[in-house]
């Protein structure tokens, strides 16, 4: 089983973001980075699939500057076999540019499964995985929350708004992974050590200029401060009145 996983380096979300001076990107000072959560579940899915079939190779791809090697090595320390960095000064805003660069690289080998996370938690496009499938001419199942692969075919579950559906598909396939498919393993010390010795290839990303650009970025409006109406039972009638007339929630 030959398995590719495409991962993205994203900022860790527990900070207050600021917008950079150009008005259309995030100020990166002081940010910490990690592998996109959904991509970690994709890596885990790939590793489980390899372990279940007993042989094969899990190859991790990431597009971006040299800093992404850190995220590739995290995937290697979880157990992936080798990594490929598609080197670019930065990941472009146009998902199609990224998809074309990944597809150009992936096309050079035969893959049984190509995994993506469902969405990158920073840019939230949800489109690179399906676009790569299109460019490779492969079927795509997005947002899977369970997976079973045997005898060259697969079954997956997808969570819908208020239902779930079971889909079947042939291999090779492109899958994008939703929350709930698995819980990613923690890299242990042996894995971290082994990762240092695993191959990590660096190739230039074949990026075109792209046609979609971010022109402005703004933070959500500050929420208005709360208001204290009074204390105890005496304040209840006024509270109810305001909830009805002003907040209009009752």
């Amino acid at each position: 089983m030959k398995i590719a996983v495409c991962i993205k380096r994203v900022p860790v979300m527990d900070v207050r973001f600021r917008i950079a001076a150009d008005g259309k990107s995030v100020d990166e000072t002081g940010l910490k980075y990690d592998v996109n959560d959904f991509d970690l579940w994709a890596v885990e899915a790939a590793l489980q699939l390899k372990e279940k079939t007993g042989d094969g190779e899990v190859v991790v791809f990431s597009l971006g500057p040299d800093a992404v090697q850190e995220q590739i090595r995290k995937a290697l320390s979880m157990g992936a076999d080798r990594g490929v960095q598609l080197k670019a000064d930065r990941a472009p805003a146009d998902p199609l540019s990224i998809a074309k660069a990944l597809a150009a690289e992936l096309k050079a080998s035969q893959w049984d499964v190509v995994f993506f996370g469902k969405v990158a938690i920073d840019s939230a496009d949800q489109s690179v995985g399906p676009m790569v499938a299109e460019l490779l001419g492969l079927p795509c199942v997005s947002a899977i929350s369970s997976l079973d692969i045997a005898n060259g075919r697969g079954t997956a579950k997808r969570e819908l708004e208020s239902a779930s559906e079971i889909v079947e598909f042939p291999l090779p396939v492109v899958l994008t992974v939703d929350e709930g498919l698995n819980k990613e393993r923690l890299p242990n010390l042996k894995g971290i050590m082994a990762a240092k010795k695993k191959p990590l290839e660096v190739k230039p990303a074949q990026l075109d200029a792209g046609t979609v650009n971010v022109v402005a970025m703004e933070l959500p409006a500050e929420r208005a401060a709360g208001r204290i109406i009074g204390e105890g039972a005496a304040a209840v009638p006024e509270l109810v009145r305001l909830l009805q007339t002003e907040a209009k929630v009752l």
């Binding site: 242990n188 010390l189 971290i192 050590m193 240092k196 695993k198």
Partner: protein
């Protein structure tokens, strides 16, 4: 197309365990007792390599995720033991092999990485840090440092996986700080193939889990026709017949850690399990503890940060008189004082870890300085955090009281802070003492020793005139650096004066030893702060960008130098005779102070 496939790792100097080797290697702290500043030993500040930084980040990420899911420190404290999942998780993560060399199945972490992780574990649960530290900081460290190739191959892979938990057996009922009083014996069999081990060891962390013990016992030897006993180290398989464990001790804190008495009764230890040579036990024990202590320093520093984090969050949220209590200056004083000292403590353990990794440096006194300073800081800070929290600080529902109990042990184990202070003072007095002794001999035979006397007198004159100074400290810290250099100069002269006055009797004068050690600790902390802050300014690119670090340095160093100056002055001007009289009266009466007027 290029490839950056990492090359197969060769053990680097950074990953090899280094000894302090006090007899051979230069020591910064010994130097200051001679009035010398070995700046080359403390500059530049040892920044972590990028590779170390990346592995550290991965290890910390994994440990934090594991801790968030699995470790409930309050529950562990309540139950007095770890749930199975906690130990199993530590083993699965590979934590038990953190500082065991790679070729024996471990991670081969540098001292910088190892101690940083030690700190993180201590912040998650201090008892778990004891489990982790008793195992590899001291438990199997002897095998790593002194084991033969066969011994390493036999034991270390099991220790690295956690399958074999290690424990360190030094302390006995009658032998704590006084290791010479050891009563355990190991008597060789007639054919020399084994030793019969007898004795009782107490306060043994990890005893209940142990698969292997590092045990110290006296071996009878004959030297020049006289029967003598020589302390020797042994690797003892915990499955050997004749070993019995006591019940777990009920302790004040670190309750989750398993602490017991271990009794050895005619335990047959194969001669192949002797660690090092007969008589090397002391040196082995000291070397193990030399580096082991650093873990306690790192854990105490990190623990200080953690409990103060609770207090800071509380101080921001708790309102009194219509404002958060954090806005009151009596609270801010506690925050700022602990912040500056944590900055110093972090600087010092990291500088010292860098010495351990570098090799060729005697770090034995520095690790002692770090342990003393950090353990006292963590206990004081836990108490301050509890005070900031007020009434709720005293409640078992909040983490403060546990922090006070848990942090208390660090002032006691791996060498009490008292014995470590004596160690610092007496070890550091050796060199100046020898110089003076040589001089004393020279004066007995002055005609043949004019050279020695002349060079001593010239040296003393030079020391008085040419003061030591720093060349590598950033200009922004010039005043602080000058103050430290001036104190080092004063210390060198004071030590000389002290030795001339008291001679060998200084061994009995612990009032003096305490002051010497306290001065040395404050000087070393201040030097570490100078080294780190210089690095921080260079890293940040400007003095302004390192304002937070500079503020800590500029608060810590003058305060530390005021303490050091007072300690050095009190070597000459003191109330020691009176203090001694009071103490001896109290001991005689077993009553602390003169009877209260109400009891007359």
């Amino acid at each position: 197309m290029s490839s950056t496939a990492a090359k197969p790792s060769v053990p680097t100097a950074a990953n090899e365990p280094h000894l302090a080797n006090p007899d051979q290697n230069p020591s910064f702290t010994k130097g200051i007792f001679l009035g010398e500043l070995r700046e080359d030993l403390v500059f530049p500040f040892p920044a972590m390599s990028d590779a170390d930084r990346e592995s550290l980040r991965l290890v910390l990420d994994s440990f934090r995720s594991f801790a968030a899911d699995t470790i409930d420190s309050k529950q562990i404290d309540h139950d007095g033991k770890f749930p199975d999942a906690v130990r199993a998780g530590m083993h699965e993560l590979g934590m038990m092999g953190m500082n065991i060399p790679e070729e024996y199945g471990g991670f081969g972490a540098s001292a910088q990485v190892f101690n940083r992780v030690f700190g993180e574990i201590g912040a998650a649960d201090p008892a778990l840090a004891v489990y982790f530290g008793a195992h590899q900081s001291i438990g199997c460290k002897g095998i790593t440092l002194f084991g033969s190739e066969e011994q390493k191959r036999q034991w270390l892979p099991g220790c690295a996986s956690g399958e074999i938990v290690a424990a360190f057996c030094l302390t006995e009922p009658g032998s704590g700080s006084d290791a010479q009083a050891m009563a355990s014996t190991a008597v060789p069999s007639a054919d020399g193939s084994s030793y019969a081990l007898n004795g009782t060891k107490i306060w043994i962390s990890n005893a209940g889990y142990a698969g292997v013990f590092t045990v110290f016992a006296k071996v009878p030897v004959t030297i020049d026709g006289k029967a003598k006993q020589r302390v020797t180290a042994f690797i003892v398989d915990a499955k050997s017949p004749g070993i019995t464990l006591g019940q777990p001790e009920q302790k004040m804190g670190i309750k989750g850690s398993d602490t017991r008495t271990v009794t050895f009764e005619n335990v047959e230890v194969p001669a192949a399990n002797r660690l090092g040579e007969v008589g090397q036990g002391f040196k082995i024990a000291l070397e193990i503890l030399n580096s082991g202590r650093l873990g306690l320093a790192a854990a105490s520093s990190r623990g200080t940060r953690r409990i103060m984090q609770e207090a800071l969050a509380y101080a921001k949220q708790r309102q009194q008189f219509g404002r958060p209590i954090g806005s009151f200056e009596m609270i801010q004083q506690k925050i700022a004082a602990n912040a500056a000292e944590t900055y110093a403590s972090d600087s010092a353990w990291m500088l010292t870890a860098g010495m351990v990794d570098r090799g060729g440096v005697d770090f034995s006194l520095e690790t002692a300085c770090c342990k003393i300073f950090a353990s006292e800081l963590a206990f004081r800070a836990s108490n301050d955090a509890l005070q900031i929290a007020g009434g709720i600080g005293y409640s078992k529902e909040y983490p403060y009281e546990q922090a006070v109990r848990d942090s208390r042990i660090n002032l006691i184990f791996e060498g009490t802070n008292e014995i470590l202070r004596a160690l610092i003072a007496l070890t550091a007095l050796q060199q100046p003492g020898e110089r003076l002794k040589a001089l004393g001999k020279a004066f007995k035979d002055p005609l043949h020793s004019l050279g020695a006397i002349g060079s001593y007198v010239a040296g003393r004159a030079r020391r008085q005139v040419t003061k030591p100074s720093f060349a590598r400290v950033h200009a922004a810290l010039k005043d602080e650096a000058d103050a430290v250099a001036a104190i080092v100069h004063d210390l060198g002269l004071a030590v000389e004066g002290l030795l001339v006055k008291h001679g060998k009797a200084v061994i009995e004068r612990q009032f003096l030893q305490m002051r010497l050690a306290n001065a040395a600790i404050d000087i070393y902390m201040a030097v570490a702060v100078l080294s780190r802050t210089t690095w921080e300014i260079e890293r940040a690119g400007s003095v302004d960008a390192a304002a937070a670090e500079l503020d800590c340095a500029r608060v810590f160093i003058p305060a530390a130098m005021r303490r050091a100056r007072r300690a050095i002055r009190a070597l000459r001007v003191n109330q020691d005779d009176r203090l001694k009289a009071i103490a001896e009266r109290a001991l005689e009466n077993v009553d602390l102070a003169p009877p209260s007027p109400s009891d007359r």
